[in-house]
Every structure is written in C-alpha cells, then in structure tokens.
C-alpha cells in the first residue's frame, strides 16, 4: 500500500513542480509590509508574485477564480488588520467574501486552503515572511492545482 501511495505521488516530485503563488497586497499595509520584508533581506521562497491593489476589498472574487482557472496553485490575500483599514471597512468586506469564497471553492472541488486571508501591517515584514513560508508549505503539501490536470 505504502509503495503504491509513493508511486502515485512520485510524478509530482519528478516533474520538479514548483508551486505558483499569487499574493494580493493592499497598498497601505501589506504592500509596505512586503517591502519591509524585502529591504530587511528576510529570506523566503521566491515562487510568489505580488499584485498590489488599493485595498484588499478591491480583490474581486472574480480575480481569485481567474487565478485558479489560469493555474495558480495558491492565492493569498493580505490586508490591514481589523480596525486599521485605510478605507475604514474594506478589510471586513474582504473577510466576509473570502470566507464565503472558500466555501464556494470547496464546492468546486478545490481544497479551500488554497485560498488564504491574512492581516499584515506595514511594520510586519517578519509576519509577511512567515506567512509566505507557511503558505508555500501548505501548497506544497496539497500538490498542484487540480485544474492543470484537466
């Protein structure tokens, strides 16, 4: 049995698959946090692409769905901490949307952990690094986006 399971998971390793992560950062907190992580030379995986949006609430569910349809293995949405949103309540909307979107993704057959929401402030370069590291680990465990196998 164990051999069989290994044989099944082997192709993933053999292909040299690297997860593609998409990170949406809000302009006011998380993008500055990412910048801080960069200028502080904090080490983290390099397989993520950052898209800056004015607010995490600018991340339309359509963006996330398109990212998965186009083969992203994981989507991370980063915004200001509760009560810290530059636009007062944008991050609350994001939080509600992402909660529901995760349920929807599960219905579509995706593991909902492929979509994650986290709060990263402008001073939290370290948290940005940790979040990326953890998310990368989660996605490596989940394997490639199943839509790529169709």
């Amino acid at each position: 049995m164990a051999e069989e399971a290994q044989a099944q998971s082997a192709p993933v390793e053999a292909e040299g698959w690297e997860p593609k992560l998409l990170v949406f950062c809000c302009n006011w907190c998380s993008y500055a946090g990412a910048d801080l992580a960069g200028v502080s030379r904090l080490q983290m995986p390099t397989n993520f692409r950052v898209i800056r949006t004015m607010c995490s609430a600018r991340v339309d569910p359509e963006f996330v769905l398109r990212a998965f349809a186009k083969g992203a293995d994981g989507v991370l949405v980063l915004g200001c901490h509760p009560a810290d949103c530059h636009y007062i309540g944008g991050n609350y909307r994001t939080r509600r949307r992402i909660a529901l979107l995760r349920v929807l993704l599960e219905q579509y057959g995706f593991n909902p952990d492929r979509l994650k929401l986290e709060w990263v402030s402008a001073s939290e370069g370290m948290k940005f690094q940790q979040t990326i590291k953890e998310f990368d680990r989660t996605i490596r465990e989940l394997g490639p986006n199943p839509i790529n196998e169709e």
């Binding site: 569910p61 509760p82 529901l100 599960e106 057959g109």
Partner: protein, 339 residues
C-alpha cells in the same frame, strides 16, 4: 418579396424555449408573413436529412436553445451553423449552460450510476447502462454519447446573437423578430455580432421594489417569512440575484413576489455571475460597529447562512463560469463538507 427562412432547434433543455416562441401571441402571424420555417422539430415535420440537403447559409436565422451535452447536440449545432447565416443562442441553457449545466458539479459516471443503479426506484440487477452502440437481432441501435461536461453553445460553435432568459420573454423575442423583419423589409442594419438581446443594466434597475437601507441582517428561505411585495428582497433577507443579473426580463419574478435566480446571466462587463453575486451579498451584511471584535469563526458562521453558494449563485451559469466544472484534488480533503 422572398421570405426569409428561420429554424429552431432544441438541444439539452426543457423545451420551454420552443414554447416561448409559440407564446408570442398574434405576433406569430407576422413571423409566418415574413418567414418560412425551415426546421423546427417541435412544430413542423422536417427531418435532419432535409437540413443536410440544404445549401450552406440557406437558413436566414436559427434559434438554438439548450446546452450542448451529447454528441447529437453537438452534431446538430455544427450542422445548423453551416446551414444558417445567423445563429442565435436562445435561452439560458444555450447562453450559459442553464440548469442542466449544474451537472458540471458531478461527472458522467456518477450521473449514470446514480440514475440507472442507485435511485430508490431502480431495480437494475444486471447493472445495465446505456451504450452508444448496441446489437439486437433486428440490427444495430445507436444512441447519442453523453458528455462528461455540459457546454454552452458558444463553446461549440460560433454564435451571432445571444438572447438569455429561462425562457426569453415575449418582449425580447418580439424585439429580435422586429429587428430581423426591419432588416428584411427595409434593409435596416442588424446589431453588431455578439450582441446580447437584452438590457445593458442590472435587474435592480428594472425592479420596482423599494430599497432603503441596502443592508441584509439575516438570510431566510422564501418560505420562512411573509415577503413584503413592496420592499427589496435582499433587505428582507431573501437571496435575490438581481444585483448581478442582466435586466431585460421586466423583473417578472419579483412582480410575482419571488426573488431573482439569475436566468438572464451576468451583465456585460462581468465574467462570472456567481463571483459577482458573492461579492455583492458579502458586502451588504449589516454587522454594525463590533465587526473588529468578531473572530474568523464568527464570520464563517455568518457567511455560511448561505447554504449552497455554488447552486445559488451559479444556478444558470456554471458552464459559462470561470472555473466551469468541478475539479478533483489529488489529495482528498480531510473532511469533505459536501457529499
């Protein structure tokens, strides 16, 4: 003056679209005046071989309703495309997959096994499933092959116009027939290719209900409360797809005190009607000032009042959505919520 030729074909749909065309009252006489019916299986006796014998582009306009779900649907759509100058994607199933499109939540295998083996009323001891080719003493029988995926019409053939609705309303049909008639009689130009014969706005623009707070407190099923016929459905806690749905139907369901279920599909600039509705609904929850105190679990509890987001937000548009079809993770999720 030479008459134009029209045809209508019924693919994977319920037949309501065919009836909708018959349902345009006395206008049907106007149709007979300008057009000959070249092919319309539900109404006139023309066979597929008659269509095959027609020269290319012989039919002026063909209305195809229903999604594309089996080999026959696909063959007929391609044949009619070849024989017609104009193809109209008629009704929600042809435009977006419609209700049959929800079959993309599952697979051909699961559907056949459930229907032929596992329904409570099935007694199929030999485990017989439909086979496309079958030999009987009298000869060979062929039936169409069911596809694993439901497709929209424009995923299979080139489409000139779209007329959404379940079914398209009499007004929209008359509008289109009027355009074709004007084109034939007076040479008026037809709308540009790819036009959707409906409004460019959302249904809320057409809806007569009063909106005041634009907030929703709690989600209810329509049977759980007495619905106020004057007040916005969403404000009463009934999920209504109006904000993400194209107008053009005249908000008939809302006139009948029922929420919109989204049969007119997304508005022009939106790719994913469900995503659009999800976004809208999540935004209008009234939580008040204490939201920063709520935990992630509180939020999840709040949002999972929406019991079936996929089935609710994509009731008519799953094959036309961004994801299109259920996927299968290589590693099974630890605790699947949905069966």
């Amino acid at each position: 003056m030479a008459k134009i030729r029209i045809a209508q074909y019924w693919a994977a749909g319920c037949g309501g679209c065919d009836v909708a065309l018959l349902d345009i009252d006395e206008k049907i006489l106007g149709v007979a005046e300008i057009a000959d019916i070249a092919f319309w299986p539900i109404a006139v006796d023309a066979k597929v071989k008659d269509v095959e014998a027609m020269p290319d582009g012989y039919i002026t306009a063909t209305l195809i309703n229903g999604a594309i779900r089996n080999s026959e649907n696909e063959h007929m759509a391609k044949l009619l495309r070849q024989k017609s100058a104009l193809i109209v994607s008629f009704g929600s199933c042809a435009c977006f997959g419609g209700v049959p499109g929800l079959a993309n939540m599952t697979s051909k295998k699961e559907i056949l096994e459930y229907v032929y083996w596992h329904t409570p009323t099935s007694d199929n001891v030999e485990k017989v499933l439909p086979t496309p080719h079958y030999k009987v003493p009298e000869g060979e029988i062929e039936i169409p092959v069911l596809y694993d995926t439901v497709y929209t019409l424009d995923q299979v053939i080139d489409v000139d116009y779209y007329m959404p609705g379940c079914p398209p309303t009499t007004n929209l049909i008359n509008e289109f027939l009027g355009m074709v008639e004007k084109h034939v009689k007076e040479g008026a130009p037809l709308p540009p290719k790819g036009s959707v014969i409906a409004s460019q706005k959302t249904l809320c623009d057409e809806c007569a209900r009063k909106r005041t707070t634009k907030k929703v407190e709690k989600i209810y099923m329509p049977y759980e409360i007495d619905i106020d016929p004057e007040k916005c459905m969403l404000e009463q806690g009934i999920i209504c797809l109006g904000p993400s749905t194209r107008a053009g139907c005249g908000a008939k369901c809302l006139e009948g005190n029922q929420p919109c279920r989204g049969c007119m599909g997304p508005t022009a600039e939106v790719l994913d009607q469900g995503g659009s509705m999800l976004s809208a609904l999540a935004s209008i929850f009234a939580i008040g000032n204490q939201e920063s105190q709520l935990s992630e679990d509180d939020i999840l509890e709040l949002m999972t009042q929406v019991k079936d987001p996929l089935g609710t937000f994509y009731a008519f548009t799953m094959p036309a959505s961004i994801i299109k079809k259920k996927v299968k993770e290589r590693k099974a999720t630890t605790a699947p919520k949905e069966a």
